[in-house]
């Protein structure tokens, strides 16, 4: 189908103009007046459009695409929570590692066969000072064995079954441990008290004790080996009868802060005063 002369003329003119422009652009790539004119004409429009595009884009990104951001936020929160849990777990492992290192250091220092046990429970009635540990007769744990921790002596075994044992702590009035004051070498009997402290009884009246003096086991009770830390002297007073003086002792070990203890297997039924000659379990 043929178009009119006017249409054909217009098409030829425009095509020619295009070809002319095309060829002329090779020669004047910079500073060409026509291009400059076109650019100048388009610049404000282009700038305005770009400005609005940016603004609208920002609005879209900031507000209208909140659904995506919400999902991303949820995922990130989940990750933060997971990482926090991981950090807590690592911190817990780090603390456990430090505790076990302390236990191992003490274990290697002791001349007796020992066993590390975990505390699995405390006194059911709350009226006695006892704890339960996860080792029993199957592991060689029997009554009257000494139980200790890196910070100091814990107590002694009073009952044991195949899989667990009960330890009476040095803060229970039932227990008595023969002790010495490390600095002065004075001997006394350490017993528990319901105020979570210990009392060092039957000390000589002429004893010269100071607050902070270390109290260690004497090894003469046949249960605790010699030289183990029991606590530190807090205060001194005359006994009720007036024949002796007694001292309040802060126990070295705080039961709420320990999770593992060492059972000294060599002290079952008493041991020799000379380390190395104790009875084997």
């Amino acid at each position: 189908m043929f178009r009119s002369i006017r249409d054909i003329t217009a098409a030829i003119l425009l095509l020619s103009l295009g070809i002319i422009l095309l060829f002329s652009s090779f020669e004047r790539s910079q500073g060409w007046t026509f291009a400059g004119f076109v650019y100048s004409a388009f610049k404000p429009i282009d700038q305005t459009v770009t400005f609005f595009e940016n603004k609208v884009g920002k609005i879209f990104h900031s507000y209208l695409w909140f659904v995506g951001v919400g999902d991303q936020n949820r995922l990130l929160n989940e990750e933060v929570r997971r990482l926090r849990m991981e950090i807590l777990s690592l911190k817990e492992k780090d603390l456990e590692n430090k505790r076990l290192k302390k236990i191992l250091t003490l274990k290697s220092k002791l001349d007796y066969p020992t066993l590390v046990a975990q505390i699995i429970g405390e006194d059911a009635s709350g009226l006695f000072r006892t704890i339960l540990i996860n080792r029993g007769t199957d592991d060689g744990v029997f009554p009257d064995m000494a139980v200790t921790a890196p910070e100091g002596i814990v107590g002694k075994i009073i009952r044991s079954s195949a899989a667990m044992a009960q330890v009476v702590m040095i803060t229970d009035p039932k227990i008595s441990v023969d002790c010495r004051v490390e600095r002065t070498r004075d001997r006394g009997l350490l017993t528990g008290s319901y105020s979570y402290l210990c009392i060092l009884q039957y000390l000589n009246k002429e004893v010269r004790l100071k607050q902070g003096d270390l109290v260690v086991t004497s090894g003469l009770d046949g249960i605790f080996p010699r030289g183990m830390v029991a606590g530190t002297i807090d205060s001194i007073r005359s006994s009720e009868q007036g024949l002796f003086v007694e001292a309040t002792v802060i126990p070295g070990v705080k039961i709420s802060e320990i999770e593992e203890v060492i059972v000294i297997l060599g002290t079952q039924g008493g041991f020799s005063m000379e380390p190395g000659l104790e009875k084997s379990p």
Binding site: D123, A124, S125, G126, Q166, V168, P173, S193, Y194
Partner: protein
Amino acid sequence: MRELLFVLFAGWVGLVIQCCILNSIFSMEIKPDLTLLVVVWTGLNGDYLSSLISVFLLGLTQDLLSGAPLGLFPSIYVAAIIFSAYVRDNFHVESLGTSLIITLLISLFCFCLVFISRWFIGQITFEPVMIKIVLIKTILTSLGLIIVKPMLDNAWKGYSRIVGAT
């Protein structure tokens, strides 16, 4: 028999909570005695004979899980059942207030008896702090009944529906 099993189970749950869980969630040194609450609840609600047997067994377990000499808690719990059965037979004990008073009296009796028995066998000498321990523990245990009693009532209702106990 069904009642006995229920009381034993509830008591043992209480013991496990006291031994292993209560210390980590309760920062105080003195804590309520959940097993005693089970004993009081049994005394006020249960059949006399099965209550006696179940609390005796509970007491034995309590002895083994605490430093008590064997036989102390069974005796105390049996005495508590006798007392609560007497109260139930002679007074109206349905209200929470009455139960609280009975719990208070039984707790006071129980905790005092623990210290007296220890003193009697020469394990301890009197310390003023013991009075504080007994009083605080008694109050905490009695208040614990406000939470434990509805729980035990509901558990008993559910258990009765399942096993057909009355």
